[in-house]
Structures are given as C-alpha cells and as structure tokens.
C-alpha cells in the first residue's frame, strides 16, 4: 500500500502554513504580467502561501533550480583586511517540481558535488536543505520527452501532490515535521506519472565525435541561433556559472564576490586571458551544448545530462528544437550504419 493523505484546500493550506514555519516553500506560480510580451503571464518559481497559487496545468517556463542554485549568489563580502560570508537562511527549502526536474537536480548534484575533489561548498549548503514535493504529471506537455530520457518516474521525493475532484492527494515517503499525517486524511495514493509523450527522442548511443564535428547541421543551426542563452537559463540541468568581483562604487575598498549563472550560448562564455575565445560561431555553441547534454556528460557520469523537460524547445525564440536536433543526429547515425 502506498501511504498517502487526502486534503481539502483548507487542510492543505494548514499544512503549508505549518510547513512554512521551518521551510521556504517554492512552487511554480502564475506571475501576472511577467511574461515577455505585454499583457502576458509567466509560470515561474516563487514562494507560496496557498496551494491554489500552484500552477498544475502548465509547465513552468523556468526550472526549479533557481530556488537552491541562485541566479546571483554572493559568496562573501570583503574589505581591505577581511572577508565574511553572508548568513545562510536557517529555513529548509521545499520545492514543488516534476519528476524530470528531480532527475535534473541529480544531474546538478553530479557536477556540483561529485565532479571535483571536494563538493562545491556553496552549492552543497543550500542543496542539503532541499526536499522535493513532486507534482504528478497526468499527460505531460507538448514538448516533453521525459519518457525517452527515462526521467518520467521517480521515488526521490518526500511527497507527491495532485489535484483531483476537489482534493489534493499526496503520496508521502517522508512525513515532513509530522504535518502530512496531522492535517491529511490517510488514504492510499498512487502518484501519476507520464507513460508516453508526444515527442519521442532517440538518443544516438555511439556518436562518432569526429564525424559529428564536420556535420553540416551545425552550420544550419549557426545561421538560426541568436546566442540569447534562453535554452541554458531555462534548462534544469545547466549548471554553469561565472565569478564576479564587485567593488562598490561609493567605496571601492569594499566589495563582494558573486557567482552568477552563465550560458555556453552567450558571447563571452569562453573568454580567456589574452583575448582568446572558442566557439565563436553559434552553430559550434549549439554542437557543444547538444553533445554535452546527450553524450559527454554520460561518458563521465553514466547518465544523460538532458532530462527531456523540453523547456529549451519552449523558450527558443528562433524555434530551434533541441529534441529534433537529437533525433536528426540519431537518424544520421542509423543511416551511416545502414
């Protein structure tokens, strides 16, 4: 039996109110008027107070990673003699997210915690606070290909939640602060996960890297990509950041060191001392990103970096589809083996 609880709105909001005593609770919500175009909205992450705020019916435009891997993070403040880290919020972090998003956090963990000799200190201290509330996926969305990437089902969560016939249903693996059992009515809850997507992606398993570098499709993508970086910033598994030392304008003897998300598509990503930079052509950047997502990462960590959330496809203003690109590579591989 899958242990679960059933809540009406009032009960779930009591649960949230009490969870918020020890946690910041983040979920995808409707940010009114915050869409790129006028009079449009954006589904993005922010703290919630009530379950009704949570958007279940649409995929969030941005991924949940910003809730524990901040876009801008001050690592420490400094003056001539001294430096000090900013205080860390004592509260835990509860994030409402989808199954694919959890796999993406596991990918971030690989890079940030397992890639070097020591875990990334700043990442780890926020990551350790994170608990997952999975939002059930009934049908997935138009651009999703989680099934192809094997990220459609997970058991790495504290609880699940879906809205059904006026009630919120949660399967609970970890009864956080004993609150689910306190406010919910115990019932069996089997979480719903997507079994099939509209998009089917066949990831090529044995890419010939030399041949792929010469593939003319990168030239085509180079003529289409505008290097805006949206595919990177909406991606739940992109982890790149850059460092910035800021010297305050009023007193340049004081300042702070920040790290800020970076994008392999945006100019400046590969800038080096002496003015060198690599992958000046946008097609080369596309190639670098695609191969990292569906080939290079796996060689190092054993799992594909891409989790098939499809947000890059949703966000690209030039209608470049990452999933179509992967399929094109796969088709060519099949043709070659012929």
């Amino acid at each position: 039996m899958k242990l679960g609880y059933k809540f009406n709105s009032e009960a779930f909001n009591m649960l949230l109110e009490n969870l918020k005593k020890k946690h910041r609770v983040y979920a995808p919500i409707l940010l009114k008027g915050k869409g790129k175009f006028s009079d449009t909205d954006l589904v993005g992450y922010d703290e919630i107070s009530r379950i009704e705020e949570v958007v279940f019916t649409h995929k969030s435009y941005f991924s949940p990673k910003e809730t524990f891997h901040p876009i801008t993070q001050t690592l420490f403040y400094f003056n001539e003699n001294d430096y000090r880290e900013p205080a860390v919020d004592e509260k835990g972090i509860l994030v409402f997210l989808r199954s694919c998003d959890i796999y993406a956090v596991e990918r971030l963990d690989k890079i940030m915690l397992e890639n070097g000799t020591t875990p990334d200190y700043y990442y780890e201290r926020l990551r350790n606070k994170v608990k997952f509330i999975v939002m059930d996926c009934q049908d997935g969305f138009e651009s999703c290909f989680c099934v192809s990437m094997g990220t459609n089902k997970t058991e790495n969560y504290s609880a699940t939640v879906r809205y059904e016939n006026g009630f919120y249903l949660s399967n609970v693996l970890e009864d956080i602060d004993g609150l689910f059992s306190l406010y919910g009515e115990q019932v069996e809850v089997i979480p719903h996960f997507v079994e099939a997507n509209n998009q089917i992606v066949n990831v090529p398993q044995n890419l010939n890297l030399e041949a792929i570098t010469e593939n003319p499709i990168w030239e085509e993508y180079g003529s289409r990509c505008i290097a805006c970086g949206r595919c990177n910033v909406v991606c739940p598994s992109c982890s790149c950041f850059t460092m910035q030392d800021i010297f305050y304008e009023d007193n340049p003897n004081c300042g702070e060191r920040r790290r800020v998300w970076a994008s392999c598509h945006i100019d400046g990503f590969t800038d080096m001392a002496g003015g060198h930079s690599f992958r000046r052509n946008n097609g080369e950047r596309m190639r670098f990103k695609v191969l990292h997502k569906i080939s290079d990462f796996k060689k190092r960590f054993g799992v594909q970096m891409c989790v098939g959330c499809g947000r890059c496809d949703d966000a690209c203003p030039e209608y470049i589809s990452f999933s179509q690109c992967v399929n094109r590579l796969g088709e060519e591989e099949v043709e070659k083996r012929g």
Binding site: L42, C228, G229, V260
Partner: protein
C-alpha cells in the same frame, strides 16, 4: 440633381469627381473588423457601386461609384455595421437608419497591437475603441491614431493626436546574468538608456522611452513589464502648407489622461475655431492660439501624476512649402 453637399459629406458620403456619383466611407475604429460584416460591405459595393472597395489610409472602407439617389436606401442598410462597430463599443447614435451621423472627426486608426505583435506594449484596439467612444460623432476635422510602440507603424506622428504605448521596465538585479543583451540592444535599436555598471544594468530613466526592448531581450526575466503608459505627440500633419511630424506633448501619461485630453480637445476647438472658414483643421487652430493656450485647455481638470512629463514647447520637425506662409506684410 439637388443635394445639400454639406449634409451629404457629414453623413459619410463624398462629393466626388464624377457628377452625380458618390462614395461611402465605412468607419472601422482601430482597424478591427469582425468578418461577419464583410458580406454587407460586399453587397453594397456589388448592388450599388462598381464591385470594388478602396482600403483607405485610415483603415476604413470606401465604396466608390454609388449614384446619389441610392444614399437613403444604403443608409438604411448600414445599421448592422454601425451597431457592431460603433454602438456596441459605447458610441451614442440616435437613429441607426440614417447612416453615419458625422464624418469630420476621422476614423481612429491603430496598429495591430499586442493582440498579435510582440513589440506592442499594450492593446491598441481597446484604446482606439475607448477613444472612439469619446470623440464620435463629431464634426471638427481631427485625426487620432494609436500605436503599440515607438516603431510607430501606424504613423501617429502624422496625426493631430498620436498615442504611443510606453512600458516602464522593472529590473530585478538578482535575476540578471550580465549577458548585456538588453544593453547592447538598447544602444542598437533604441535610445541607449542602459549601461553596464559593476556587472549589473543601470537604466537612465530620462533617456528611456519605454519601448520594452530590454524585456524582450532578457533571457532570465530580470527585466519585466511594469505599468503601461502613453506618450502623446500632437499636431503632426501633411497638407499644402507645411507638412510636419507631430511634436512630443506628454510622456508617461496614464490612460485616463489620454482619454481626458481627447475629450478636452473638442472644448478647445469649439472655443477657438475660426467659424468664418468652411472648416479648420485643429493643427491650424493651435498655430493661431499658440501652444500655451492649447495646453491649458486640453489639460483642464486633468490629473497629471508626478511620473508624467510635459513638454515646455512644441519642437516640430517639418518644412514649409512657401516662406510667405510664415512671413507676412
């Protein structure tokens, strides 16, 4: 043939080149036309005209080659058009069977706006309809246009009242990744109001024209849209004396201010129009009375918020065909 040409013209009909032949203008406020109305326009053109329509520069239909004797019959057929396009948006017209009650105040034109266009910072159709409700029917010769952004695709700079959408961009520094897409783009296509300081973006509010390009270019939604405002440019015109682009009058004005100014414009015209002339285009009235009197009249009882900027003079760009129009003995 005995017709009162002045009445005929006020009724939306033209005194045309060909004797005894007229044309009908059909107003389409904001250029927004439900296609269910097209068959009626088609029927009039086929039954009474020559089977064609002219798409006017003001987003209206002009149905040519109609004999004057059909005017009354056609007027009585127009009620579905007038009902849908005028009465439904709040224009008060007493008798729908008599055709258009006035023609001097021209159709309010609008670009397609944010129903479709990614650049538009507001719904131009909705504002055009609200303006139509205030200014129609009216006889004074006034041209008003509404455009969604400073690209001004609808050429509000050639109008007596030109309304250009503005959006106040809001910057959330913590979401900015310093890609500088906004900074580069603002310099390239707009006013160069953005600069990059200490790895974050600074906006020079005095330079910003509220085009929203920064929001469009931002990948992380560090820039988002704040309030919708309007820039009003006035007294642009073509014509045989001195064509000129409209000059800036107000910036960062609220919607209510725009509507009130449109209403006040008619009180100003009523007081100062030269009634010895058959008609006087509002731009020439302002030339006679001067800007300050115009300003005082159209801003009467208008609440200007601290955010709104008001022009101290009209900085026209244009030229005069004949210098004797300016210099007189």
């Amino acid at each position: 043939m005995n017709i009162n040409t002045k009445k005929v013209m006020k009724n939306g009909w033209r005194i045309a080149k060909d004797r005894n032949i007229t044309c009908l203008r059909i107003r389409v406020p904001g250029g927004y036309l439900p296609v269910k109305l097209l068959p009626l326009i088609q029927e009039i053109a086929q039954r009474f005209g020559n089977g064609t329509v002219h798409l006017t520069t003001r987003q209206s239909f002009e149905i040519p080659a109609i004999p004057f004797e059909n005017m009354t019959e056609i007027n009585s057929m127009l009620s579905p058009l007038i009902e849908e396009l005028e009465v439904k948006i709040g224009v008060k017209i007493d008798d729908l069977s008599k055709g258009y009650p006035s023609a001097g105040t021209r159709n309010v034109v609008a670009c397609i706006g944010n129903k479709v266009c990614s650049n538009a910072v507001f719904n131009t159709t909705a504002l055009a309809k609200d303006i139509e409700k205030i200014i129609y029917p009216n006889n004074p010769h006034v041209k008003i246009a509404v455009t969604g952004c400073p690209n001004d695709c609808v050429k509000v700079h050639m109008h007596d009242i030109g309304i250009i959408g503005q959006v106040e961009p809001i910057y959330e520094a913590s979401r900015c990744i310093g890609c500088q897409a906004c900074v580069k783009n603002c310099h390239k296509v707009s006013t160069g109001a953005l600069s990059f300081v200490n790895n974050k973006v600074k906006r020079d509010a005095s330079r910003c024209i509220g085009c929203g390009e920064c929001v469009l270019k931002c990948p992380t939604a560090a820039w988002t849209r704040g309030g919708q405002y309007y820039r009003i440019v006035i007294m642009g015109r073509t014509g045989k004396k001195n064509p000129r682009l409209a000059a800036g009058f107000l910036e960062w004005a609220e919607r209510e201010v725009v509507l009130k100014i449109c209403a006040n414009l008619y009180n100003y015209i009523d007081q100062y129009i030269d009634r010895s002339l058959p008609k006087e285009h509002v731009g020439y009235i302002v030339d006679r009375t001067g800007f300050n009197l115009f300003k005082a009249e159209v801003l009467r009882d208008v609440n200007i918020s601290p955010k709104t900027k008001l022009a101290s003079y009209l900085d026209f760009a244009g030229y005069t065909y004949d210098k004797n129009v300016v210099y007189k003995n």
